[in-house]
Subunit: 342 residues, 2 copies
């Protein structure tokens, strides 16, 4: 069983989807970027230097785009979605800075991580600085409900990371336990980013819930595809991924492709997974063997199939909105997240 | 020149001062502790385990006490000061967890640091969790002004820590530059903790400013005394301090006793400070030599004299309030902070 490779046509359409969404929100996103530049300023030079290294490293700004698009689909005409979107990006950037310290990562988006250039200490502290600035931005919008949603998400994200830390070395992790981790560490921020777009638009609670659900399920799909890509999902290479293929493996992370390979494997295979991930005893050729076992049991395919399931829920969540360019772009974004090659 | 040792009588009075303040706020602080216990709960067991290790390690709860006392001196009769005080303690605890990671500290308050027991990774993440929960508590009070003050403080504290990181190895740091660091990393939270007590009481801006000033100057005095104590200030021992004497020295931190010793020393002495702190080349007997140089130039005395200067400003800031038990207790607290032995 090979991995699911979409037809070139499908892939082009998916790529196109993100380009369309980007075009729709281009003006707003310019304002968001302006706020980001302005609000990461500090009289301590190392702060904006380190922060901008990551913020300007070519991330897709997916989460702030969700806030903007959600506000627009709700017909919002004010200006506060810009500040909230910038706050979401700061929150996300703070999480990445701390993640790279926790995971001891060397590369992100194809560049050296901030901790490799400025050290772990500065990465922790600049993350804290961005968290503080994120809340300051939210406060300026005076939207207590948005503040509640985002502060709750901030705590949930951290809880998810701790959960992952505790489960990191347990090859017997169930799929359910793994899903709880990614619901918290990834999907919570996607959900919050989309939901606050409805909140500042003062929309009915069913529209708020629809956008929350869209964001949450998109986030789950996004993370599952990420996990598949880390094992070369669709014959991706280190260069196209912007991070090392097999990072999760080397860090001993238990992700869905591993959870399934462990469960579907025989005693000998389980002993292998325990040695390389639980005991951390990795040798030459182990990653190739791991990939072979995943192919044997089709666990990359299964992971992408799971992602498609959550993607379908995300799409259906938007059905209550009347047809519009924004709705179409958000629906197409689901396809992009599932078929993305970077 | 010896260090300034207060008469036993003075020391007793100062100790007494804190006991009096503690008695005045005892009921409120019980409620604060109840909220702290409740809000650090998580379904991820490691989160409250790690958090309570530090939160229940016998800290004096100075910062939340400031919020409570400030609200009471302003005649506040509501309940929100409890939540804000708990939020202040969470913010402070998050900072300590991250500080211990950044400083690679082994001991705090006489106990092993959380990072020694649960690792750096969990300490970073549980700090983030507490930050999220702190903001959630603030949001519940619906006081946007308090949220603004505390989110600003959170960013400023992190900036101060980065500033210290950048200056850490520079023995040529000026006293002014050093003061900017401690204004940010320590005094900002003391100032915010006191100010929000006035904010939720809806007091006139001069009372808000008075409490902000009291907190800021108390915080500066507190930090300067801490720096003096780290070099055994008042013949303190590792056991009475609850941390290792000379920690700052070993970590190459440039604090005021060093700043002054470097400036007041001759070329040979400056070469010594550069070797041990700038180049990090420390040998047996260096810490004793450092202490001797500080005694020769009276830099511990001078640091405590500086602390007394800021303490006096803090006391005078409270003059606009009518006499009350709370005002007296806050004034006495200044003496306690300066003469404390732990």
């Amino acid at each position: 069983m090979g991995v699911v490779v979409p037809l070139d046509e499908e892939r082009r359409r998916a790529q196109n989807a993100v380009a369309q969404l980007q075009a729709l929100v281009a003006q707003d996103m310019e304002d968001v970027n302006e706020f980001i530049r302005e609000r990461m300023a500090s009289e301590v030079p190392m702060v904006p230097e380190l922060a901008s290294h990551l913020i300007n490293s070519g991330g897709k700004r997916l989460r702030p785009m969700l806030t903007i698009a959600a506000a627009r689909i709700c017909g919002y005409t004010g200006k506060d979605h810009i500040k909230l979107a910038a706050a979401v990006e700061f929150l996300h950037t703070a999480t990445l800075l701390h993640d790279d310290v926790v995971d001891e990562s060397d590369l992100r988006r194809g560049k050296k991580t901030a901790r490799m250039l400025w050290g772990n200490q500065a990465s922790v502290l600049v993350g804290d600085f961005l968290l503080g600035r994120a809340f300051k931005l939210m406060v300026e919008t005076r939207s207590l409900r948005s503040l509640e949603i985002l502060s709750t998400a901030a705590a949930v994200i951290a809880e998810g990371e701790v959960m992952q830390l505790a489960a990191a070395k347990d090859t017997g992790t169930t799929e359910d336990a793994y899903m709880r981790v990614i619901q918290a560490k990834t999907a919570a921020l996607f959900a919050a980013a989309a939901e606050i777009g409805a909140v500042i638009s003062n929309r009915a609670s069913n529209e708020e819930a629809a956008l929350e659900s869209y964001g949450r399920n998109l986030g789950i799909a996004f993370q599952l595809v990420d996990d598949a890509l880390d094992y070369g999902g669709r014959s991706a290479t280190s260069a196209t991924l912007g991070k090392n293929v097999g990072d999760d493996f080397r860090e001993g992370k238990i992700t869905l492709p591993v959870v399934l390979a462990f469960r579907r494997g025989d005693a000998e295979e389980r002993a292998f997974w325990q040695r390389v991930l639980q005991d951390g005893d990795q040798r030459d050729g182990d990653i190739e063997h791991a990939t072979k076992l995943m192919a044997r049991h089709g666990t990359i395919d299964a992971t992408i199939a799971r992602a498609q399931h959550y993607g379908a829920i995300a799409r259906d969540a938007l059905a209550i909105f009347p047809d519009s360019q924004y709705r179409q772009a958000l629906i197409d974004l689901v396809d992009f997240c599932i078929s993305r090659t970077y």
